[in-house]
Amino acid sequence: MAKHPFTKRDEHRELTRRALIKWSVAAGAALGVSRAKVFDILEKTAGKDTAFAAATNPTTRSVHVVAGNGGLAWFTQFWPFPSIAAANNASFAWNFPGKQVLVAGTDKPLYTGPVTPWATMAATQQVTVFQCGNNETHTQQPQSVVGLNGSNIFSVASALQSASPSVIPLVTIGNVDVGTAAGAATPANVTAATGIVDLFNSAASRAGGLLSKTSDAQLYKAHYDAFTQLNRAAGTSTTKLAYTTASGAAGFLGTNLSAKLAITAADNTRYGITSTTRSNVAAIGQAFIIGAKSFAMGLTNSIVLPAMDDDPHGAFDGGDINIVPQQLTSIFNAFMADLNGMTDPVTMENLWSDTVITIHGDTHKDPITPAGWPDGTANNSNTVYVYGAGHLLSGWFGDYTSANGGTAVGFDQNGAAATYNGTNQAKYAMAAIAYAIAKRDSRAISQFANGINISGVFGRPQTM
């Protein structure tokens, strides 16, 4: 379709604005003006939008939850299938019949229930859910709900995020599979969330390292500063900013981050993690606690973690359905509250508007059969949940109805209801996730999306 003249004009204007930002920041550096000052000047001369564009990160951070071995089924109690919730049928695998609420103002239908996290957020900020991919029962590494034209969405995320360097760009926990993508970072893997703490310590600051003693670390920083002053150019306006940053890095090198990242009793209280919390739920909470702190310190851009992995066939029969979702809710709500209370070190904005969260799994289990909660799903369907930080249209794309003993409803490239096609829908969903991480930059995701249009269909159009 030919582009509308207004679209062409806006794209041209965006390029011009980028040129202005680029020139301004470069000129500011040449004159020894701080970046913050440049943004101030841009705000006064070119407007708030331009200053905002100059200061903002080009991508969001991301957290990817892989709920394998049936673990994804728990999340159907957070955000029920619209038709299942609307049916208000106590015999379905929805634990809160009669208590579901249709969220007003979402772009697509979205129901919440008593244990839905983030329920109080604005309609535009609510989750996006894609009925997509294939049922891959009993695997911890589902593939059909992470693939985007041959690339893995977790790796695609890290490739996009490479525009914002961090100490360790991609952290994985356990045996999650991040696949490959052109330009993706090599993941740093830890066996458990608590291992992330050691990951960020510099080699020098670790036990036995050159800077493991505080006095040596302070001496290193002081003498680094002294040595740099012997560089004749170190005092010039054009190098001031660089040397200031490097001096900060010299101090950072000797900082042992264990104390800053470690999980405290206050963290556990905030997340509702107690001795009665299921260990697999607590593990998610620990990853979230350390993840939020890592994001706030600019240490990483993306964390991929396994979740649940418990194949809850007996959830309804044994009563776990009245325990586990509530514990999960407490953790998800606390994580969002943490993000909301933390500031991005680059953009100086709340992290909740700068973080995309996705939830994938092998099967959401049968939504109309609580007894034994079978693994099979109609049309071999699967589900992906996405918190798009406001960049995606909210609500469900696709559905799952009780018709004919269960029917998965798909969607087409325009977002309209269609016959279920798990492969194609997964592509749209993964492209949408990439679009959210790239903050609506269609050009940035083009080599992965390969022509899939997200703007205005699954994602909110880029604002000028």
Binding site: A30, G32, V167, S202, A203, L210, F227, A246
Partner: protein, 226 residues
Amino acid sequence: MTRFATLAILAASVLAPACTDDLPPPNTPPPGSTSGGTSDTFDHENDQISPWDLLQRIEVEGPPSYTSHTHSCPKVRYSNLGSLLTDIGVNAANTTQLSAGELYTDGYNALGGPNYANRIRENIGITISGASKEFDIFAAAAPEVMAAFTSTTTNALQARCPGAQLFDTSGSVPTCRPDGIECLIGVPPQSEHVDYCNLTITNASTPAVGQQLAVAAILAAAYTCE
């Protein structure tokens, strides 16, 4: 003078007093302020660059078009850092855990290496993550560098700086030697380089740690910018 100009002057002379009568009373802002008062005007930021400071800076450093070329401070590019490590006697391909070579290889992203596949050029700006990773590599490389000076087998460092030694170990506490520092930083050192180096050794928790700290700090300071 044209008739139009005459009329304009006449009109201005008549209208100016009339306008002046309507002006509010003068409101002298306090020194350093840009507002008349907190209740009526916005006290905007007024600490822009002084043109006189800017002129003086340009006289000393040259115009931005010149100084940004000669005195800019881009980070050391990834491939150049590898060459540098090799030149100072470090095995950049070392795969031993937490060795300088391993940190260098695994630090590609943190060091802002180019992402050609994704059409992202090498990040030339100095960032906390990139600089701290580079300094971490230098810290890990310090023992290798010291060993390269004293090694009995010829290596890249000795080939580049034949006969140079970094430390004089004849006394009770090692002291730094200018020829060794020159070999590390690539230019003749100032006396302060040697002084700071010696201070690092004496002020560290142990002289052995101090020697490594000195090497790490000298390298970090010398190669902050490319």
